[in-house]
Amino acid sequence: MRAAIGSEWTKLWTTRTIWWALLAAFVLMAAAAGQNALYVTNGDIDASSAGDVAVLSVAIAQLAFVALAMLVMTGEYSAGTIRATLSWIPSRGRLLSAKIVVVAGVTLVAGVVAGLLGGVIAAGILDDSSDIAVSAVKIGIYLVLLGALATGLGAALRGPVVTLVVLLMAIVVIPPLLQIPDISVLNGIADAFPGVAGNHFLAGDSDPYPPAGGLLILMGWTLLAVLAGWRTMKRRDA
């Protein structure tokens, strides 16, 4: 397993994808945090601390993390390297695990750093510097789970485009559409989506379920995506 992780780690840092993804993550986080902090000072949105603004800004920055995580898996299929990779590491479970460990490691560190960056920028605009560290850690945890979900889904669907579309639908597009009419049934459905559940965890909401409930729902989705990916890799020819 250590060898497989080492190999995936080397692969991650030897193409340009990682640098573009990290650059995009930090730029999106900084821009969103600045904008959201200005909205807060104008009274357009309700947030009380710099940490809250960082959490709000994850909605934008997460896209870079999701893209990176799903590319680690789907890139093997689009570049045609999956057969070579599986001939090095024939165990599908070991390969998928190694990829998830590598994605999780990078996402945790970069997610916490992005969270701190967003918090610090918000603090500069808001005259408030509370909750920055706590929010950054929560953002890191949220992004690790989302990254593992994207990696697993990539293994299940294989194509980068279809994987990204499904992820965007599930995280960015469908939940707000469900929430617009403000009907309790639809809101309830939206609350079961991974991104919304993750947001309840990040925001520390007590309604409709406690923050830990949001975290558990997200973990459930992640587990499901990883299992689906593992099953597909085991069953289908490479």
């Binding site: 060898a3 692969k11 570049a79 090095w88």
Partner: protein, 234 residues
């Protein structure tokens, strides 16, 4: 024993790509693997490497399925397709990642780069490689784990005359060291120069498994022998 196929079969829907292949590919000689396009050569090789799942039957390498080896690159070196590296990664980094996956020391990477004659190209991105350079990188990868078994799918594709000569000598040397060398090709004259034993398949079935001399017996060339075999099967 080296490579053993037992009733190996692969069906896609109703077509049988590989149909009950029984075969022993032995060490110490270059075994050529011939057959028309779509005869099932690549599918067979992919099943040996655990990439495709047989519909029935088994493929074993030194008595065990490939996927059961902890460090498979030290058992089998394979070149399946020339475009097997990420276009954005340098050849050397590709081999470094490969070496790490099987706990092979990094200095071995420079040794095989030397053997494959990639030179300065090793530090260029794979996307800039010609087909021939891609083949050389693939061969470097196959040699990385110093494996007793080599499986090569069309390794001379895209190589220049120097490259063709280099690979011919390399394969014969590897076989002379007692390794199993199993190599597919469309180039019959090249095969006649490289292989000492031949396996011919058509429509997924075994047509011949015999020493080169025996196949050539009574024919002017390997080409004549090959056409007689494959046409009688069609």
């Amino acid at each position: 024993m080296a490579i053993t196929l037992q009733e190996l079969t692969k069906r896609y829907g109703r077509t049988r790509a590989v149909d009950g292949l029984d075969l022993e590919v032995r060490p110490g000689r270059v075994t050529g693997f011939l057959g028309p396009n779509g005869a099932g050569k690549s599918t067979t090789m992919r099943m040996v490497l655990g990439l495709d799942r047989p519909t029935s039957g088994r493929a074993l390498v030194n008595g065990r399925p490939y996927a059961e080896y902890r460090w498979p690159l030290r058992e089998v070196g394979a070149v399946l397709e020339a475009k097997a590296a990420h276009p954005g990664r340098t050849g050397r980094n590709h081999l470094l990642a490969m070496a790490r996956s099987n706990a092979i020391p990094a200095r071995r990477v420079d040794e095989v780069l030397e053997t494959a004659g990639l030179g300065d190209a090793a530090r260029k991105r794979f996307g800039t490689y010609s087909l021939g350079m891609g083949q050389r990188l693939g061969l470097a990868g196959a040699l990385l784990g110093d494996p007793p078994v080599l499986i090569l799918d069309e390794p001379v594709n895209g190589l220049d005359p120097d490259g063709v000569r280099w690979i011919r000598r390399l394969l014969r040397d590897l076989a002379a060291e007692g390794r199993t060398v199993f190599v597919s090709s469309h180039l019959l004259t090249e095969m006649q120069l490289t292989a000492s034993h031949l396996v011919v398949i058509g429509k997924g079935r075994l047509l011949a498994d015999a020493p080169m001399d025996e196949l050539l017996d009574g024919h002017g060339s390997l080409e004549d022998a090959y056409y007689e075999l494959t046409e009688s099967a069609a």
